[in-house]
């Protein structure tokens, strides 16, 4: 059995818990043992908190990594932002003994230590590489015949220097395809959802980033957007609500890859508590039951 520690981050348990529910059901079905991380904290956020105080950023990351290390398992993240932080911090700590020493000096005060013995992976990597496409295919008992647009999310492209930045997005594409959906190319897959610029310029974020994506995807005739990152998910769902202030009306269902996988595995949509979404995902799930 494949064993990992599942790092949920902040957004999933607090704002879109249906992703957590779906992920637990998916992991169980494909034989992926996902241990909880008792006492984990925010990853923390990969850009501003890193700039604010890199040592604090590294220390908080190292603390989270040390919890998985104590359990004796590698760590996987459901959120792209958590992936960026934890994979980057892990790489820095492993490659810089002086930074590792400083961080452990601080962690000692909290009775913890990080030795740098674990790896960090994105959940799409774990499902694709460790579980395997064939194993997942076995579980797809209800292929979903809908047309979807994909949004990978910027942090998913993070690779070591010179690595293939499309490696993980291609895995996500492949995993989505397994659920039976038709992936529609709308031309702006790579464009950011606008979440990072929301704090700096809300109107720009909504009109120059989210809106072009929605417009192109809807024109391509999709039923839903499939996402992996909860931050992008919030931007897509809340962004559609906020765009109404500007007289722009979109109501596209936005579904997480884990939820789509769970539905294709035949998990009843009522068990996923899709009511936490701010877009008509429940309606989409009901519609899929009939197709």
């Amino acid at each position: 059995m494949v064993r990992y520690a599942s790092f949920l981050g902040c957004q999933i348990p607090m704002r879109i818990p249906s992703i957590e529910i779906a992920s637990r059901k998916v992991f169980e079905r494909v034989g992926l043992e996902a241990a909880d991380l008792p006492g984990y904290s925010c990853c923390p956020e990969p850009v501003i908190s890193r700039q604010l105080d890199e040592t604090a950023w590294l220390t908080i990351s190292a603390r989270n990594l040390s919890i998985a290390e104590e359990l004796g398992v590698n760590l996987m993240t459901l959120c792209n932002g958590c992936y960026e932080t934890l994979v980057e911090a892990n790489g820095i700590l492993k490659g810089d003994p002086e930074k590792m020493r400083i961080v452990n000096e601080i962690l000692k005060g909290f009775g913890r230590e990080y030795r740098g013995t674990i790896e960090v992976k994105h959940t799409v990597e774990v499902l694709y590489e460790d579980v395997g496409v064939e194993r997942i295919k076995e579980e797809v008992v209800k292929p979903r015949r809908i047309r979807v647009a994909l949004h990978y999310g910027c942090h998913m492209y993070r690779e070591p220097e010179g690595g293939d930045v499309m490696r993980k997005p291609n895995m996500m594409r492949e995993l989505t395809r397994l659920t039976g959906v038709e992936i529609v190319d709308y031309g702006l897959e790579r464009l950011c959802c606008g979440y990072p610029t929301m704090q700096a310029d809300e109107e720009f974020s909504l009109k120059e980033r989210l809106l072009p994506k929605l417009r192109h995807a809807v024109e391509a005739g999709i039923d839903a957007v499939v996402l992996s990152c909860p931050a992008c998910h919030i931007q897509f769902e809340m962004g559609q609500v906020m765009l109404r202030r500007y007289g722009i009306n979109y109501n596209v269902p936005c579904i997480n890859l884990m939820e789509l996988l769970a539905l294709s595995f035949g998990v009843p949509y009522r068990d996923l508590h899709l009511e936490f979404h701010r877009s008509p995902v429940r309606k989409l799930a009901r519609m899929m039951e009939d197709v």
């Binding site: 492209y157 464009l191 700096a200 720009f204």
Partner: protein
């Protein structure tokens, strides 16, 4: 700078084929220099053409023979002979904006609060824009590599 030093100079290189337009580079730049979450105070800018689906960036090339250095009437803009980075001395700058007008890319921008011109200072050797760029659209490379990339990417298009 000698030719050998020039080719080894560390510069920023932008690959539009990899950019997602997240503008984290701008946010990180402005936060690093001003501790503010804003796009307006960034030393580089990303633009996106929705119709053509194309990205482009405006950022300092830290030129071999910088026009901003030549044109500055108060000798506030200097090029470091060792690193090759072009910087504005904020104490010497008189805010005349000549550097902005002379720069082929209009990279230096006028800070209305401080009444001086500002530009990329290469973050003293550790550019934050490159650090936070997940798809590695902005990277720190040698000028030689940047020349090669830009020739392949742009010259071919221009001479077509």
């Amino acid at each position: 700078m000698s030719e050998a030093l020039t080719s080894r100079q560390r510069v920023l290189l932008y690959n539009p084929e990899r950019c997602t337009g997240c503008r984290f580079c701008e946010i990180a730049c402005a936060y690093y220099h001003f501790k503010e979450i804003t796009l307006e105070k960034a030393h580089l800018h990303i633009t996106f053409n929705e119709e053509k689906g194309l990205f482009e960036a405006t950022y300092c090339q830290h030129c071999d023979e910088p026009l901003c250095v030549a044109a500055c009437p108060s000798d506030a803009v200097t090029k470091d002979p060792k690193t090759g980075w072009v910087k504005i001395n904020s104490v010497r700058c008189i805010g005349c904006r000549t550097c902005t007008f002379i720069c082929p890319l209009s990279v230096p921008w006028f800070n209305e609060e401080r009444h001086i011109s500002m530009k990329c200072d290469f973050c003293d050797g550790d550019p934050q824009c490159a650090k936070v760029c997940s798809p590695q659209a902005i990277r720190v490379v040698t000028r030689e590599e940047a020349w090669r990339f830009n020739e392949e990417t742009y010259l071919e298009v221009l001479t077509r």
